[in-house]
Symmetry: C2
Subunit: 243 residues, 2 copies
DNA sequence: GCAAAAGTGTTGGGCATACACCCATGA
DNA sequence: TCATGGGTGTATGCCCAACACTTTTGC
C-alpha cells in the first residue's frame, strides 16, 4: 500500500482521520503518540499528537484509518472503532498547528473535520519491535501533557467511549491483555476502566464463572511470592455464550 | 438565521450533516423523512431521505445540524446526538442520488462524507403544526421502504445507538413522551426499545420507585375502560438522583 | 352485564457485596 | 524467617422475574 501513496490524490484538505491507540503494559493504560515537529521562527518545537492524516479521494474512511496508522506507526491489522467526528471551526486555530499543517502536509486550510477511531493493541515486545522504526511514544493516559489541535479532548472522549464499549463488549479487554495473563493483570485493567477498586475474592469468583476465561497449567516464574496462574481468553466459547 | 443562507459559502462539497429525528405517537416510533425529488429523463421520481445538507465554511458541525434541520423541517431547539460518520466511496453512487445532488444542490461530487445526528421530539399537535409548511412525513421506523443514499443503514445505526443511549440516559424516553403520559405509553415505548415484553406489575413497580416519574391527579378521559393516571417527568429530581 | 384495560403484593432465586486467613515462593 | 502477593468460602441483602385477580368505566 505504501508504494502507491505518492500517486494518490487527497480527497480535499478538509477531511482527516485520527487514531487513538491504547495499550496496557500490565501496570497502566498507555496511549500512542507521534511527534508534531514545528519550525517556529527558526526554533524547532515538538508537540505530540495522535497518528492521522488527510484521507484520499478514493478510499473509504476506515481504510484511511488503517492506512494512516500503518504509515505513521507500522501498526496494522487492528480493529478500529469509530467514536466521534470533530468539526469545530476553532480546532485548527492554534498558530503552531497551522504552521505544522503548512510545513508538514504542505496545505493551507481554515478548518479540518476529523473522524476519530479507537483501537487496541497488546503492548508487548512484538509491538515495541514493529514500531521501532517510527517515532512513536507510549504515554500513560493520565499524563499526556498538552497535545496538538483538540487532541486532549479526543483522548477524553476516547476514554469515555472505551469505558462504555467494555460494558457491551468485554472482549475489548482481551485485545489489550497479553495472550497469557494473570487475574491480577485483568483486575488492574478492569479497575482502571471502572475507576474503582474491586474486591479480590469477588473478582476472582466472577472470572471463574466466565467460561471464556480459561485457566492454563502454566504459572508465573521468578516472582518472589507464590506464582500466579496464567489464564487465556477463549474466543470460541465467548462467541457461543454471548450469541 | 435563514436570512443569511444565500450569502454564505459551502465549506466544500464533501462534508454534510444528516439528522435522524425520532418521534413517538403513543403507539409506535416514527422517523421524520423529507422528499428527494428527482427528474429522471423527464419523469419525476420521489424517494425519501433524512433532512440534511452540506455544511457551511464558517459553522461548527452541530450548528450545521441545527440549521439544516430547521431549514428543511422548521424544527428547532432540540438536542442533537452525533452518532456516526459515513464516508464510504459508494454511498453516493446510485444514479438517482447523483442526479438529485446535481439538480437540487447544483453540485457535482464523487463522494460526500456525512455526519449523522439523532434527535427526539414530542410528536404532538404542536410539532405537526410547526412542520406543516414543510414537506415532511412521519413513517413508522419498521416500515420506511427504500431511502436515498445509505440512509437505510443510517436508520439502523441510529436505532441501535438509540437503544444504547437509553441505557445510559433514560431521560431520552421523556424527550419522546408527551408532558403528561400514562404508564402504558411509557411501557409501550420501553418495550419497543428493549424489543421484549415487560411484566405489567413489575414495570409499574419499577416506575413508582423512580422518584422522577411523578404521579399527577389527572386521569385519562373518554376511554371506555377504567381511566389511567397521568404521570409527568421531573427533571430536577432526575438530575439530583443521577448526580 | 360485559368487554377492556387499570391497578395492585408476594415469593424465590440469583447476583453483588462484605469480609479474613492460610499458602507458596524468593531473598 | 520474613516479606510479598496468591488463592480461597460464607453470609447477607437487594433486585429481578414470575405469577392472578379485582376495579373502573363506557357501551
Amino acid at each position: 500500500m505504501r508504494d502507491t501513496v505518492q500517486k494518490r490524490q487527497y480527497a480535499n484538505n478538509h477531511i482527516s482521520i485520527d487514531s487513538v491507540v491504547l495499550g496496557f503494559d500490565e501496570q497502566q493504560l498507555k496511549v500512542l503518540l507521534v511527534p508534531q515537529q514545528v519550525n517556529m521562527d527558526g526554533k524547532i518545537i515538538i508537540y505530540r499528537k495522535f497518528p492521522g492524516n488527510i484521507i484520499y479521494q478514493d478510499e473509504d474512511m476506515e481504510e484511511a484509518a488503517h492506512r494512516t496508522l500503518e504509515e505513521l506507526t507500522g501498526i496494522h491489522g487492528v480493529s478500529m472503532y469509530q467514536f466521534k467526528t470533530y468539526g469545530s471551526r476553532n480546532r485548527t486555530s492554534k498558530p503552531k498547528d497551522l504552521i505544522w499543517l503548512q510545513q508538514t502536509l504542505n496545505i493551507k486550510v481554515e478548518r479540518i473535520v476529523t473522524t476519530a477511531y479507537l483501537s487496541f493493541v497488546k503492548l508487548d515486545a512484538n509491538i515495541l519491535h514493529s514500531t521501532k522504526r517510527y517515532a512513536v511514544t507510549w504515554v500513560p493516559v493520565n499524563n499526556v501533557g498538552e497535545l496538538a489541535f483538540d487532541h486532549n479532548t479526543l483522548l477524553n472522549d476516547a476514554l469515555a467511549y472505551f469505558r462504555k464499549l467494555v460494558d457491551y463488549c468485554p472482549l475489548i479487554m482481551f485485545e489489550l491483555l497479553p495472550r497469557k495473563f494473570t487475574i491480577l493483570q485483568l483486575r488492574t485493567l478492569y479497575e482502571f476502566i471502572c475507576q474503582k477498586e474491586m474486591d479480590v475474592r469477588n473478582f476472582q469468583k466472577k472470572m471463574v464463572q466466565m467460561e471464556y476465561v480459561v485457566p492454563m497449567d502454566e504459572h508465573e516464574e521468578g516472582v518472589r511470592h507464590r506464582a500466579a496462574r496464567f489464564y487465556k481468553f477463549d474466543k470460541v466459547i465467548y462467541n457461543k455464550t454471548r450469541r
